[in-house]
């Protein structure tokens, strides 16, 4: 009985795919299907709706310019509602039923870990266009977001030089926070600094009076804030109102959740963030990107690094397919293995590292002023995601389909 009901349901409703502006000439060719699983509702929607828009923008441009190898790009978009189980359901659907050639999926690391076993098991091909804690060594995945070594190896030494050697870390108590804090700890030590405090905040906590007191007690020269999620972002306002008045360094804020736009100045005053893109970047490429984006989505609140990652990922995919003359993952990985998959993105030049299938980035140091305007005291071009490769992940040779951490590296 139940089976009948379900089959009826599936048969009754039309497929929910969305064909974007395909020209008449392209219609004849079989489209290349790109699955898009992003959180358009729920907790993470703040930072992710822009990703979907960026993908739509890129697909639109590519289709107008004749598609990929003459084939139009078709997007299959599902709203994952910030719910891990939805990622599992829809990754299965997009791979098995929609038979997408590649999938762009996931904001939180948890959602990535939820769908990754399914991609592996069904032999799919997924892009994770988010900055994250690093360490995913999986041939089925390409990561276009920045990882800790890219953001911290630049940020922390610069901060220590400018402000001093005593560092306090305030981090979200989950994988991203824990691993990032570990990076910070190691880099501080290598540069002869001292960790005067480290505190992990459970997710969902929004009250920081005690932490503020702890920080004042430890008297650091600057604070590294690795707070995640909207609840934890309340720290800045609360610290400002308690007059903590210390410079802050971060890899997540501003570039992702555009807190400088949302919070009332000067709560983010003297926050330094390393990011591979934000809309304030003042280069011709970036300005052109922002203009195109705002033309298509005039109400977009902010174009963050993930939006740019997603945008460039579509073009990277195009390049790889055209060079491989195939949408098969194995063929594409052969192209990657050549080590020269690069492009001129809005942020600057980026390349895929064949060993880890992560990406090199231009890292911008964004400084938030008292009025929440941004300036860029420093730019580091071509920063490589070196850690995974150095630690022993080499996808050109072996595919362990696992996530590693500095305290849990790949087996030698």
């Amino acid at each position: 009985m139940t089976g009948t009901v379900l089959r009826g349901l599936h048969a009754a409703v039309l497929t929910g795919t969305l064909v974007l502006a395909s020209g008449v000439a392209l219609a004849a060719e079989k489209p290349i299907k790109l699955g898009v699983l992003e959180d358009q509702s729920g907790d993470f929607a703040v930072a992710t709706i822009g990703k979907v828009h960026a993908i739509q923008l890129a697909a639109d441009e590519i289709n107008k310019a004749g598609g990929i190898m003459g084939r139009p790009l078709e997007l299959v978009v599902y709203d994952t509602q910030s719910d891990n189980t939805r990622y599992q359901e829809f990754m299965r659907r997009v791979l098995q039923k929609d038979k997408a050639d590649a999938v762009f999926a996931g904001f939180s690391s948890a959602s990535r870990e939820a769908y990754r076993p399914i991609v592996d098991q069904l032999n799919g091909f997924a892009f994770y266009n988010n900055q994250y804690e690093g360490g995913v060594c999986d041939g089925h995945m390409i990561v276009t977001g920045a990882v800790p070594e890219q953001q911290f190896s630049t940020l922390i030494p610069w901060m220590m030089e400018k402000y001093g050697k005593k560092v306090y870390t305030l981090a979200a108590d989950y994988n991203f926070g824990q691993i990032s804090a570990e990076w910070v700890r190691n880099i501080v030590k290598q540069n002869g600094g001292e960790m005067v405090g480290e505190e992990f905040i459970p997710l969902g906590v929004s009250q920081f009076s005690q932490s503020i007191q702890n920080i004042q007690k430890a008297k650091p020269d600057f604070i590294v804030t690795l707070l995640v999620g909207t609840a934890q972002a309340s720290y800045y306002e609360q610290a400002a109102s308690a007059n903590v008045n210390l410079p802050m360094a971060s890899s997540v804020n501003v570039g992702q959740g555009y807190e400088h736009k949302r919070f009332k100045p000067p709560s983010l005053k003297d926050m330094y963030v390393t990011t591979n893109y934000i809309e304030e970047i003042d280069s011709p490429k970036s300005k052109e990107f922002v203009a195109k984006f705002k033309a298509k989505f005039p109400n977009e609140p902010y174009i963050n690094q993930e939006a740019e990652n997603s945008y460039l990922a579509v073009y990277l995919y195009k390049q790889m397919v055209e060079r491989a003359k195939s949408t098969k993952r194995d063929d594409i990985r052969k192209v990657i293995a050549q080590g020269d998959v690069c492009m001129d993105a809005p942020e600057g030049k980026v390349c895929i590292d064949p060993k880890s299938q992560h990406m090199s980035h231009t890292i911008y140091l964004a400084h938030v002023n008292a009025d929440h305007s941004i300036d860029f005291p420093k730019v580091w071009p071509d920063i490589k995601p070196y850690w995974l490769g150095d630690a022993g992940c080499d996808l050109t040779k072996k595919d362990p389909m696992a996530q590693y951490t500095p305290s849990n590296p790949p087996p030698k």
Binding site: S41, Q81, Q96, Q178
Partner: protein, 354 residues
């Protein structure tokens, strides 16, 4: 033999809707349909249906505890999560060889039941009841979620298994059955589908027998009037506790199967949303009847998924609206309401013939 017959007699009874030839014919047709349909369908649909079936157990557990026992547990997902994590920890440590995954399934369910025994002891022997029971179980579930979410640090490991905090635990093997020519690995496909279907049938029929047994009588009596039940000499706390533990075991079974299905378990599977969902399925289906709960759960799951696929950002709004309307318009649940109507029509048709 006699015992077996009297057991089967309990498949029908005052506590369950549906009896007689007509009902069981429909049941058999549905069952045969469910068995046959993977042959005409694709891997995705079968895997997706298996996924829907995974949730049936937690829904039935709530039906048993809430619908039959009258005790609203908002914490079934706690047992779901505990069992899921237990399965992960056990299989990551001991592997999948020699059918160990099957042992792990049982052990994980047992662990969930033991935790339920402790919590249930506190609650029922503390005589917590009514809406307050709901708040307590919800508070415990939310705390458990928050606790598991912060186990990201490298110290949080049990043997080879890292709890891995908010990101969740992954990499555990699927259920594996040892076989002569090599073990059968049940990925989320036809194999797993049949295993879960078999479990659904066994659990459904088993629960029918349970609620129509003398134990079920007492459970329903406690829902109707706990004081009277106690004054008939029943230690109602014990019955409530046992019922709660059985329910927790079923919720745990859902958790294990979910973990094995997606090779993944996360703290958010215990969160507010996850905790509320089973309530929704059961309330919409009809909480005081197993069949209604079973059918209702599958319908709502399929409906919600369809909504999410086709309703884009309005899906959650529509879902919320549906819930409110169901509660206002069909308080007994949509499926149970429909079944009552059908029952009346059948009775009238029979009456007309006589």
């Amino acid at each position: 033999m006699n015992g077996l017959i009297s057991l089967f007699r309990r498949l029908e009874g005052p506590q369950t809707k549906g009896r007689g030839l007509l009902f069981w014919s429909v049941f058999m047709v549905a069952l045969i349909g469910a068995i046959a349909y993977p042959m005409f369908s694709d891997g995705y649909t079968v895997g997706n249906t298996a996924y829907f079936f995974v949730w049936v157990f937690i829904a039935l557990s709530l039906c048993l505890i809430w619908g039959y026992g009258g005790a609203l547990s908002f914490g079934q997902t706690a047992f779901f999560g505990i069992a899921g994590y237990s399965y992960g920890i056990l299989t990551l440590n001991f592997g999948a060889a020699y059918g160990f995954t099957l042992v792990a399934v049982l052990a994980a369910v047992a662990i969930a039941a033991v935790v339920a025994l402790l919590l249930g002891y506190f609650m029922f022997f503390g005589r917590i009841e009514g809406v307050f029971l709901g708040i307590v179980t919800l508070a415990v579930t939310l705390m458990l979620e928050r606790f598991m979410a912060q186990t990201a640090g490298p110290d949080w490991r049990i043997g080879a298994a890292r709890l891995n905090g908010f990101n969740g635990m992954s990499g555990m093997p699927p259920i594996t059955i040892p076989w002569f020519d090599g073990p059968i690995v049940l990925f989320a496909d036809v194999g797993l589908y049949y295993l879960i279907l078999a479990l659904v049938v066994v659990v459904y029929l088993g629960l029918r027998i349970l609620v129509n047994s003398s134990f079920g009588n007492v459970i329903v009596a406690i829902r109707e009037n706990p004081e009277r039940a106690e004054m008939l000499g029943y230690d109602i706390r014990k019955y409530q506790l046992i019922n709660f533990v059985i329910g927790a075991g079923l919720a745990g079974l859902s958790g294990v199967l979910y973990t094995a299905w997606g090779q993944y378990i996360t703290p958010s599977s215990m969160g507010m949303t996850s905790a509320a969902l089973p309530l929704i399925w059961v309330a919409v289906g009809g909480r005081s009847d197993l069949t209604s709960t079973l059918v209702g759960t599958l319908v709502v799951l399929a409906g919600f998924q369809a909504l999410t696929i086709y309703g884009s950002q309005y899906a959650l709004v529509v879902m919320g609206l549906l819930l409110v309307l169901t509660v206002l318009i069909a308080p007994n649940g949509l499926v149970l309401g429909a079944m009552n109507v059908i029952g009346r029509l059948v009775a009238r048709a029979k009456g007309g013939r006589n």
